[in-house]
């Protein structure tokens, strides 16, 4: 039985329905990342778990207990806020002790011991007397984590925990955060709009968009086997090529057929889209059978690999990952399926006019 269970949660603000029957479950000790663009409902979901919002319908269960109507103070969850929300009038030690005192702990020596343990856990031993304003952003983030963990909560909630940090600091803090969570072994839900963060921290990742849950799975599931067209475009780089579904393949505009794995049910002969990642494409010499002709429009050098944007003759653009010297802008090339990447996925043609390619940086 899952430890934390979101059961068909529904929430609207005035006429805006921000969550639609959201159901996700988290096993004890697992980390679930809620990933989605802004407005996807991920923050609302987290606030409902924390108890700051009440769902219009649905239930929230922890260890089998229905806590949907519990006020935040009774849930015994720890939360790290986006801007940390450290109490500026209290010292680091007093901040960490706040939750212990709230929960009725009065033994000063015991509180002191637990505070120093919590600070040691986040690698800030001896910081009790510091003022919140005089420590760095990365240290504030860790104090916020220590404060959330000190009362030994049942669930840890993280709201965009790294968004407030410098890019240089982010990767290190992410590693430390993951290590601290794993040491405690606490069931965790985190919200992020950064795919890298979700993949790195989450045991499982739930992708939300417009209040709808698109897919829950391991990072590998999401990247290699996206369940919906949205996930395919949102997670990682991908290009979409329109065509017709025929014989398990997609017949593209130029008449060539490319293979792929159907991600949803498709009728023979129905309009379809083939979603291809840059590393699943390769350059072929012009005129090769089954390759699409085009012209290199742009070259993006990214160190070990280089991405080439190719304007196909059909008017579409695709991205191809190749060696840095594989082509130059202006070169006439041909693009063919291949390379070491995941198999292209076939979706029903999107009716909502989802752009042909979408980069998420």
């Amino acid at each position: 039985m899952p430890f934390l269970e979101l059961d068909r949660l529904d929430k609207s603000f005035s006429s805006n329905r921000v969550l639609r029957e959201l159901s996700v479950a988290v096993e004890q000790g697992q980390i679930l990342a809620l990933l989605g663009p802004s407005g996807s409902g991920k923050t609302t979901a987290l606030r409902i778990i924390a108890g700051f919002e009440t769902p219009d319908a649905g239930h929230l269960r922890v260890g089998g207990e229905d806590v949907t109507t519990f006020p935040p103070a009774r849930r015994n969850f720890g939360m790290v806020f986006q801007h940390y929300a450290l109490f500026p009038h209290l010292t680091v030690g007093e901040n960490v002790a706040f939750g212990l005192e709230s929960r009725g702990k009065t033994d000063r020596a015991d509180i002191r011991r637990r505070v120093s343990e919590a600070l040691a856990l986040v690698d800030l031993p001896g910081f009790e007397g510091r003022r919140v304003g005089e420590i760095s952003g990365g240290q504030q983030q860790r104090v916020a984590l220590a404060r959330a963990l000190a009362p030994e909560p049942r669930v840890l909630l993280l709201d965009e925990p790294l968004s407030n940090l410098d890019p240089t600091l982010r990767e290190r803090t992410r590693r430390e955060l993951k290590a601290a969570i794993q040491r405690v072994g606490i069931t965790t839900v985190l919200v992020t709009h950064e795919q890298e963060e979700a993949f790195d921290l989450g045991d499982r990742v739930a992708v939300l968009q417009g209040g709808i849950l698109h897919q829950v799975g391991s990072p590998e599931d999401l990247y290699e086997r996206p369940a919906t067209r949205f996930v395919a475009g949102f997670v990682g780089r991908a290009a979409a090529l329109p065509g017709t579904f025929r014989g398990g393949q997609v017949v593209l505009d130029g008449g060539v057929s490319w293979p792929g794995v159907p991600a949803e049910e498709l009728a023979e002969g129905s309009p379809a889209e083939l979603v291809v990642r840059p590393e699943s494409l390769r350059f072929a010499s012009p005129g090769t059978a089954g390759a699409l002709p085009g012209k290199v429009a742009e070259r993006r050098y990214a160190g070990p690999v280089t991405y080439f944007v190719v304007a196909l003759e059909s008017g579409r653009e695709v991205e191809v990952m190749a060696a840095p010297d594989a082509a130059a802008p202006g070169d006439a090339v041909a693009v063919a399926p291949g390379g070491a990447g995941p198999k292209p996925r076939i979706f029903r043609a999107s009716s909502r006019g989802e752009g042909p390619s979408r980069d998420v940086g």
Binding site: P72, A73, A85, F87, H89, F98, R103, P151
Partner: protein, 550 residues
């Protein structure tokens, strides 16, 4: 909190505030119309038929407008001098230049009387110096009123402009310069337009303060009556109905002025939302310029501190020992001794202290509770609470005094009217009403600036409502609340305009005692009370009043 409770508390607060703030004004309007027994527009017709009433209205208006212009002419250049140039003594003099606003109006007025009045120090010195038979001038009429207004109100322009200049982004001036604008063009096309919100704010504050001003017209006006003194005169003549009409007219004028200036201001809101780095101060390079600026600064400081100094000096003059001499012949601490040995002299101080403390405490609790309820409940109830909290700021003190006197002079508990006139309750109640905007706005600003995540963090850490209030919200709001309460306290402590309408002999406050000491020609004792108020107000102002102006 249950949802019923969540509606009940704000609703009860709104009813209480409406009874305190809105109801007396409504009763006054009703009675001015003869209601509820004999509805008539006759009183208004009588008002309209009397030229002296229109004259008083007109004088209130032009005195206020002239106060705005004169205050701007003094305050804005001073702000540039202290914010944009660097010279020896700048920091100290810059702080001194803000002090006049800290003097309670009545205290400023008597200090001017001691300085420039017919038997004031300056007048006597001029008279003796020129060998004149009589005093060189008389401190009376519109000129005298405007002098006092400018002295105390230029500070609004000074502080607002300085704050705005300090916030201005040096990059904007550099951008103008790189686009080929000279100093003059930059000033008129960039600096000045960016100051517009600050100037509009200072103008509004000065205009409303002048319109409500009572001490200066009362003591210096003579036969030159503005609306506030006209109301007092009508009440003194026993023309209560006319006084009510005048009160309604003055309240209407104040609200109209507020509305018009807010409307004009709305078009002017500017700002890129970017808080840049203020330009560095221009160090005056030539020694001559630096010394001139310094000397001018100290001369100005002396001029500004002269009222404070003269109050201290006169407070040392024993009663009836100073007659024709240019300088008082006897100086001792007898007046101060008398204050602490004579129970009747100490009485007004104790009265003012307890009434100011009680009203401030009540205003703090009520203002904080109403501000919290207003922010928690958006929509019409929240808006009503905010409006009621701010209303006493817009309405002149004289109006509220008359309104409270009208409302609480009859015993009709069924409609919320009680006889409070003549009881020790009426003055603290009046002070409370006048304090609400100060504490309420401080609480509103403090609560708005509070990150809601802090409260959520506390509740997710298991803190209940009481613990969140006492351990998180109140400690974080303490500076804002202390500032609001401090200003409310000194305003109540030195209040004259409301007190003169509502005091009883047993609850006479300091200001009324100053007035009676003056009437008895006991200048020394009047000055002692003035010094007390001056010290208390200056301390409060230095602690809480300056905001982030340095």
């Amino acid at each position: 909190m249950s949802s019923r409770e969540r509606l009940l508390v704000p609703a009860l607060l709104a009813v209480l505030l409406a009874w305190l703030v809105g109801y007396p004004l409504l009763i006054t309007l009703m009675e001015a119309l003869g209601g509820p027994r004999a509805w008539t527009t006759g009183h208004f017709a009588a008002f309209a038929g009397r030229p002296d009433e229109w004259l008083a209205l007109w004088r209130s208006l032009w005195i206020s407008a002239a106060s705005v212009v004169l205050s701007a002419l003094v305050g804005v250049p001073l702000a540039f001098l202290f914010e944009r140039t660097e010279f020896p003594g700048r920091r100290f003099l810059g702080a001194v230049a803000a002090l006049p606003v800290a003097l309670p109006p009545l205290v400023g007025v008597i200090a001017f009387l001691f300085l420039y009045g017919e038997s004031g120090f300056i007048s006597r010195a001029v008279q003796a110096g020129l060998g004149l038979d009589g005093p060189p001038w008389r401190l009376v009429g519109p000129g005298a009123i405007l002098l006092v207004h400018t002295y105390s109100m230029y500070v609004y322009f000074y502080l607002f402009t300085r704050a705005a200049l300090a916030r201005q982004d040096a990059a904007l001036l550099e951008a103008a310069a790189s686009l080929g604008a000279g100093r003059v063009r930059t000033f008129f096309r960039v600096t000045l337009p960016l100051l517009r919100p600050a100037l509009a704010g200072a103008s509004l504050l000065t205009f409303m303060t002048s319109l409500a001003s009572f001490s200066a017209p009362y003591l210096f006006g003579g036969t030159f009556r503005v609306m506030t003194t006209q109301i007092m005169a009508s009440r003194l003549n026993g023309e209560l109905a006319l006084a009510q009409v005048e009160t309604v007219m003055l309240a209407g004028l104040a609200l109209l002025a507020l509305w018009a200036m807010r409307r004009a201001d709305r078009a002017a809101s500017t700002g890129t939302g970017v808080r840049g780095i203020a330009p560095t101060r221009r160090r005056l390079r030539s020694p001559a310029a630096r010394w001139t600026a310094g000397a001018l600064g100290y001369l100005l400081a002396a001029l500004l501190l002269l009222p404070h100094a003269v109050l201290a000096l006169v407070s040392l003059v024993p009663a009836f020992t100073w007659t024709a001499e240019p300088f008082p012949p006897v100086l001792d601490f007898g007046n101060y001794r008398a204050l602490f040995t004579d129970a009747e002299r100490l009485r007004p101080v104790l009265n003012s202290l307890w009434m100011a403390l009680a009203s401030t405490a009540a205003a703090l609790v009520l203002g904080f509770a109403a501000a919290r309820a207003a922010l928690a409940r958006k929509g019409s109830l929240g808006g009503a609470l905010e409006g009621l909290l701010g209303l006493p700021w817009a309405i002149p003190g004289t109006v509220f005094a008359v309104a409270l006197a009208t409302t609480f002079s009859v015993q009709q508990p069924a409609v919320g009217r009680f006889v409070l006139i003549g009881t020790p309750l009426i003055l603290p109640l009046a002070y409370l009403v006048r304090s609400l905007p100060l504490t309420g706005r401080a609480a509103l600003a403090g609560l708005r600036g509070l990150d809601p995540a802090l409260d959520e963090a506390a509740s997710s850490l298991g803190a209940g409502r009481l613990r969140r209030l006492t351990r998180v919200t109140l400690p974080l709001l303490r500076p804002a609340l202390a500032a609001g309460a401090g200003l409310a306290f000194i305003t109540a402590l030195g209040d004259f305009v409301v007190s003169i309408v509502l005091y009883t002999f047993d609850t006479r406050p300091i200001s009324i005692e100053i007035l009676s000491s003056l009437r008895l020609q006991d200048l020394g004792m009047a000055a002692v009370y003035g010094v007390l108020l001056m010290v208390a107000s200056t301390v409060a102002f230095l602690l809480w009043g300056q905001g982030d102006v340095r």
